[in-house]
Symmetry: C2
Subunit: 294 residues, 2 copies
């Protein structure tokens, strides 16, 4: 009971002529005969009354014609409906870490919105830490965040850009920081403003541990965005991803230390699951990011 068979039936029901109908359907006459025979077997009743001269619809045929018309129409409707939605639509929930919000997201979001204005966007922000978790549980389709250190299972990651972690210091440094500006930074003496947790904290810890340095911590703050004003106030030096610094309103009120340790750079990109990547709205975002990072 294929849709095609229904179309064949309808053609014959209209033309009432096996020969012509078979031509219209691009079928041999015998194939048409057998198709109708199959249908009649499935329906359980003759659909056409044949006569070596003429063909006409039986009572069952009339009813089947109504059924077939409706069935085909509904398929058409469904198909066009689905195709019209093919113009990538639906919803897309994005989670962005603060870092990402300041760096990649504006460009990406703008391109996406221009390309696929039909998609209903939902944007949530939070720490990069939570990003992967949210993606994994399915609460969120996609995250724009720094690459987590350990690649978690079932997570697809698309790196878009890297940005170095830079050390920053106040423009008018106090005495304890003064000398560090032109000299090699000595982290055991210079007061440090540290993120409470997060990737950059782990990077720094790792580095400090490898150098066996115990730092002089002046304060701990949560989140990269809070670090910059703290440094500006003179609490100490700190590290932030360069991208974050560039987009900060305080970017001109702190300075980057040149003679500072080189930490592993941030890799910022997209996180999603294989499953979500099968959805067109997600796939489109992914594709777009892939293209832009080229």
């Amino acid at each position: 009971m294929d849709n095609r068979e229904l179309e064949i039936f309808l053609t014959l029901a209209e033309l009432l002529h096996f020969g012509r109908a078979s031509q219209v359907c691009n079928l041999s006459a015998s194939a048409l005969t057998r198709t109708i025979q199959r249908l009649e077997e499935q329906v359980g009743q003759p659909l056409f009354l044949r006569d070596n001269r003429t063909v006409s619809l039986s009572a069952a045929g009339e009813q089947f014609r109504i059924y077939a018309r409706q069935a085909l129409q509904e398929w058409q409707q469904f198909h066009t409906a689905i195709k019209s939605e093919q113009t990538i639509a639906g919803t897309l929930s994005i989670y962005a870490s603060i870092t990402a919000v300041y760096s990649l997201l504006p460009d990406l979001l703008e391109s996406y919105r221009n390309a696929y204005p039909e998609v209903q966007l939902e944007l949530r922000t939070g720490t990069a830490e939570q990003a992967v978790g949210q993606v994994q549980t399915g609460e969120i389709d996609l995250a724009v965040a720094a690459l987590p250190d350990r690649n978690r299972s079932q997570i697809e990651f698309l790196p878009i850009t890297t940005t170095p972690l830079v050390f920053i210091a106040p423009l008018q440094p106090e005495s304890s920081i003064a000398l560090t500006i032109e000299e090699q930074l000595d982290l055991s003496k210079t007061p440090l403003v540290l993120p409470q947790a997060g990737l950059s904290r782990r990077r720094l810890d790792k580095w400090l541990k490898s150098k066996r340095i115990s730092p002089n911590i002046s304060s701990e703050v949560s989140g990269n965005e809070a670090i910059i004003p703290m440094v500006k106030l003179g609490c100490g030096v700190s590290i932030v991803p360069q991208l974050v610094l560039e987009r900060s309103p305080f970017r001109d009120e702190v300075q980057i230390l040149k003679n500072a340790p080189q930490l592993e750079p941030y890799v910022v990109g997209l996180c999603s699951t294989k499953r979500n990547l099968q959805r067109s709205s997600v796939q489109a975002f992914w594709q777009l990011a892939e293209d832009q990072s080229l």
Copy 2:
């Protein structure tokens, strides 16, 4: 886009597990995978989001599920509707010649009505002459009538019974007829009541011509049923099919002439077209008549 494929889809959409769904459908896992792939190709979008761990419906899948449910339900409805009508129903229009109405029809109609009470019957009566024409033009499904002399094209005939054409005379014959009752009938002398047209007229004409007799015609009437009262009134002798005589209310008021010429007997039966015989209501009548005539 077979109905079976829709069922398979719905099963998987419910279980969300290829392995179990394939078992439920009596299918190998690979066949299920490919069935879904076929469907997805026809729909033009993925229906399921797969992950090596879990399966879930995509947005298109959700919509397709609604479509599939409806399509299947409509097929079910159509099928049960058609099957319930399988108890031979519909309409059956019967044309019966007067002869038939008096002879075969009562029994046949009663049996038919008992066997297939659902069929809406339509009965028209008229001359045997018109019967074949009406069947041929399709105005009537079936005719119960005497076999027409020349078998017309596309007409199926089922003989049911034969009945002789008998000569009848009044019980109290007038002088001119008196002697004929015991003697050999002399048609050139005896006054005749003749049907104006019709099969029995043709039979008689044929016989007379072969014997080169010019008859003594007392009156002409139209229709077999009118002949009997005319004979009873003493207008002359005449011929009627025996079956007609037997069912006539005047059957006891005329007598059958034994020493009369033997005319070719009437063959009474069913007329229809091949085309109409494909309809169950017609076929059933035919079948019934076939059985009864055994």
